[in-house]
Symmetry: C2
Subunit: 197 residues, 2 copies
DNA sequence: AATTTATGTTACTATTCAGTAACAATATAA
DNA sequence: TTATATTGTTACTGAATAGTAACATAAATT
């Protein structure tokens, strides 16, 4: 008998629901103020059931990170494949990055990255972000080389840029006053030409 | 017999040491992974002694906040008293803000603001930051009026700026590769003229 | 249909830790 | 010197909660 979804597909969907609900709760109440019982209740299951999908509480953060970093890196692959000036690449990256991080799982990752209790996982998380930051620094350096970007400290610029972009996760909601396009335009204008009148 | 320090002065100093040590621990290990026993041990006292200086664990965050917001608002008073263009005021604000938040107590506040469990304290903390953000928006609006700042959405700009500046607390250390002056210059250049080549 | 594998439950353990009660010592003031 | 306020300690309670063992059921495979 043919099922609409295989076991593995169902499993993947259930894990995804867990991640999404957990991420939302972590963002609203905080990681330590959200118990696994709370998360289980959202799924209408009991706590031990969660352990069929995750190794432990921290593993939720790890899985949110894997999902989000995967998306960001794929996006960076696309951006860097285009034949653009460094500045235009940076422009495109910012636009796509804002689209990606407007999502509970991504927001959860951004807020909790590098905060794992397990030292190995923590180191891996920091490494994951360093890799992404390095790729953006590379874009900036390309821009400096082709003179589309002003000569500056690419390391500091990349960090300042990421802090602004990641900060968006804690205030921007797609149903609020500011539209996604208006937000993207303001960020691009600030990065592009600054604020001088 | 005349003492070098009055009781009240000694008390204030001890509270300050508690805040400083707690703030440092919270930044290194995180709020929930740092117990009051840990903090007490740093002072070479026992946990109940802390309760002579603080109401409860959360009160440490509140006191770090009061101290830091007090400094920031005093600084804003000074900045706004100067006869400067909006852009130059913003410039000065950024410079002074970076100097203030390079300090464990301020870093602790920036990282934990708005995360209190007590609803009243949480609301107050959010309000405190809103007030400061409002004052910076006012500076931006002044700049737009006198044409020293490009016409833009002052709300979004203020938030993006604060995220960049507050982000500094989690990566910048005065003993690292980047000097405070270099950091300030890069931020001012980014905000001032952007990154276009 | 029988067997196995995946998915779920109830009931429990073990640990951590904020906060407190009761008591002790020390410094200041009368 | 004696009385009082301040600062500290030891020893405990109570609550929360991550993770597990043992058991139950449903679904797929043979």
């Amino acid at each position: 008998m043919q099922q609409s979804l295989t076991r593995e597909e169902k499993r993947k969907i259930k894990l995804d629901v867990i991640l999404r609900n957990a991420a939302k709760a972590f963002m609203e109440r905080g990681y330590y103020k959200t118990s696994l019982d709370d998360i289980a209740r959202m799924q209408n299951v009991t706590k031990p059931t969660l352990y069929y999908y995750i190794k432990n509480k921290e593993d939720i953060l790890v899985k949110c990170e894997e999902q989000t970093c995967g998306r960001i890196n794929a996006m960076l692959d696309d951006v860097m494949a285009e034949k653009l000036s460094g500045f235009d690449m940076l422009h495109l990256f910012i636009k796509e990055y804002i689209k990606i991080i407007t999502d509970d799982v991504a927001r959860c990752h951004v807020r909790h990255r590098g905060q794992m209790e397990d030292d190995v996982l923590k180191a891996k998380s920091i490494e994951n972000h360093k890799d992404i930051e390095f790729r953006v620094r590379e874009i900036i350096r390309l821009g400096i080389k082709d003179h589309s970007v002003r000569d500056c400290n690419s390391t500091i610029l990349a960090i300042l840029l990421f802090d602004s972009l990641n900060g968006i996760t804690s205030w921007y909601h797609s149903d609020g006053k500011v539209s996604e396009n208006e937000l993207i335009d303001e960020v691009l204008a600030l990065v592009g030409v600054g604020v001088k009148g």
